[in-house]
Every structure is written in structure tokens, then in C-alpha cells.
Amino acid sequence: MRSLEKASHAPSLREMLLLLLTAALTTPSSGWERWAPRLAPPAASRVAQFRADGHAALPALLQPALAAGLLEEALEVHRTFSYEKGYKGTVFFRASGGAAQAEPGHVPPFDRLYNLEERSPRLRRFVESPHLAAHVAAFLGERRSLRLYSTSLFLKEPGDSAAQWHKDIDASPIVPASPWGFATLWLALDEVSPETGALRFASKSHADHCTYFDCHLPCETVDGCYNVSAARRLRAGDATLHTGHTFHFSLPNRSEKRRVALTVAFVDAAAEVHGTLPESPGCDFLK
């Protein structure tokens, strides 16, 4: 009887193949799951900090192995990147293929490539991960659905320049209903320090209803209006999160090390988009 039972439960060749396939697809170390891991929910204190200041640190968001894999993928996209045929815009990229199409004399302050996931299935898997988005939703408010807005690779070589004060929302056609409708996750793929080009944030600037186009702040500099955060040191896999309405800038790279960061921007699925943008900026310090 026992031998009969055993025989009837022995897997067929087809079942064996299915089992192997399932294992390959669901084992974290061997397949796609590696690029879209589950993330521990954020601590309530981090969410509270984000809601108060408009930015927060997310230390050790990613495992070092995943950060290393993302860095390898991003650098491969960067190495092989060239602009689409016919592209005439200005560029944020210095490789010979792209720079040949740049405006004469324009030296990009650093390299920026948009939407790397279009060139890497592994990066697409990561940036479109529902686990990553759910983590961000925990900060923005879980009652809002989120769309992926854009991704960027920021590569600062030694000697590269700063990025000036700006709000991400001002370089976007998105009009969210509130500051909680747009956020950028800034992932360190290399060591980030004040020397390599860390970010600094203007705390609480997300709540001032000031945009590039409509701003009435009674001060002449960002530093004069807000408390500016210290430049954070980040290891690969650490991240920061800021709203689209939070003023921030990045320091120049005065070190001998390259600095690589990947940003993933999310937008409220119910947000609207601009038609015509106003012409006159409202803040003198942004002119």
C-alpha cells in the first residue's frame, strides 16, 4: 500500500519541470525577485520626520548586494548610452556619442540620464516594483495611488559641479493636489559625502506654497527662508526621500571619487498636468 501511495505521488517529468521553473522564478537569489525585494515598512518616526520637514533619510533601504547590482546595471546603461537619432535638445551627458549632438560650448555640470529602465529590464523591474512604491506610499499617504513619473541617473565625476537650489515639481508638468502628490526617492549607489556631492534640503519648504512660477517669500535666498539640513553621508543602499515641493541642491564633487545616484520619482495618480506654464518666476533667487 505504502509503495503504491508513493508511486502515485511521484512527480511526473512535467511536474518536475514546473517545480524547477517555479523555484527559479521565486528564489530571491536566482531570479527576478532579486530586483524587486520586499522592504520593511518605514518607522513611524521617519514618516513623521518626512511629513514635518518634507524630506527624510532612509538608511539601509536596500541590501548592499542589490545596490551593487543596480550600480552595475546603471553604469552599463551609461556606458552604452547615446541619444536617439534626431534629438536636438541640450544634453546632460558627456560621452562622445551624445556630446556630438549637444549645443556648442555647453559643458554639462554632471551626467544625467533619464528613464534608464527603458534600456534595462532589471532596472525596470526595480523601479516599477510594487514593494518600492508601497514603501513610498507609506510616507505620502496610502490612500493615494501612485504612478511612476520618471527616473534619473546622476553621475558626478571628480570635479563636477553643484546642482542649484530647485524644486523638482518646477521641472515637471505635474500639478499635484498637495505636496504629498509628488516625491523623489534618491538612492545612493556609491558612497555619498559632502565631498562627493551630497544633497542638502530646505526643511519645511514643501509647505510654503512657493513654486518657481508663483512664489511670494519675503527673503532673498533659500538659506534666509529655511533651516537647511546638513549634508548627509550615505552608503550604497541608503536613500533619502523628498517631496517635489522641497527645495534642495547638491554639492559639487570635490573628491577623487565618482558619485552615482539613482532617483525614482512618483506622482499621485489623480494629479493633473499643466497646459501652458506661466512665464514669470516669482522668486528672485530663482531667476
Binding site: Q164, H274, L277
Partner: protein, 57 residues
């Protein structure tokens, strides 16, 4: 190094190209008012509040 206005103009120029490509928006200046985000695969839905049981009723 470029000043903030030049940098911003560069960002907008870059992004305008990207906006039209990603969102299928007409060129800036040719439309007025606001509109809903286009229903699209261009901006994939990555967090569904309703599916997560969190959506406002």
C-alpha cells in the same frame, strides 16, 4: 558654471522633450489649462490604493 536661470532653462528643455515623449503632451505653449494625467502605460501604476484596501470610500 551656468547660473540658476540657465540651468533651469536647460532642465525645462530637457524635460519638455521628455514630457512630450512620456506623456504625449503637445508642445508647451500650445495648450491651456490643466488636464488629468493621461491614462497610460507611459506612467505605470505602481501602487494601487484600492487593491491595497486603502482607498478612500
Amino acid at each position: 558654471m551656468r547660473n540658476a536661470t540657465e540651468l533651469r532653462a536647460t532642465m525645462l528643455q530637457n524635460d519638455e522633450y521628455a514630457w512630450r515623449r512620456w506623456l504625449r503632451l503637445p508642445k508647451l505653449g500650445s495648450t491651456r489649462g490643466r488636464r488629468p494625467l493621461p491614462e497610460s502605460a507611459f506612467l505605470p501604476l505602481v501602487y494601487d490604493a484600492k487593491a491595497a484596501g486603502k482607498e478612500d470610500l
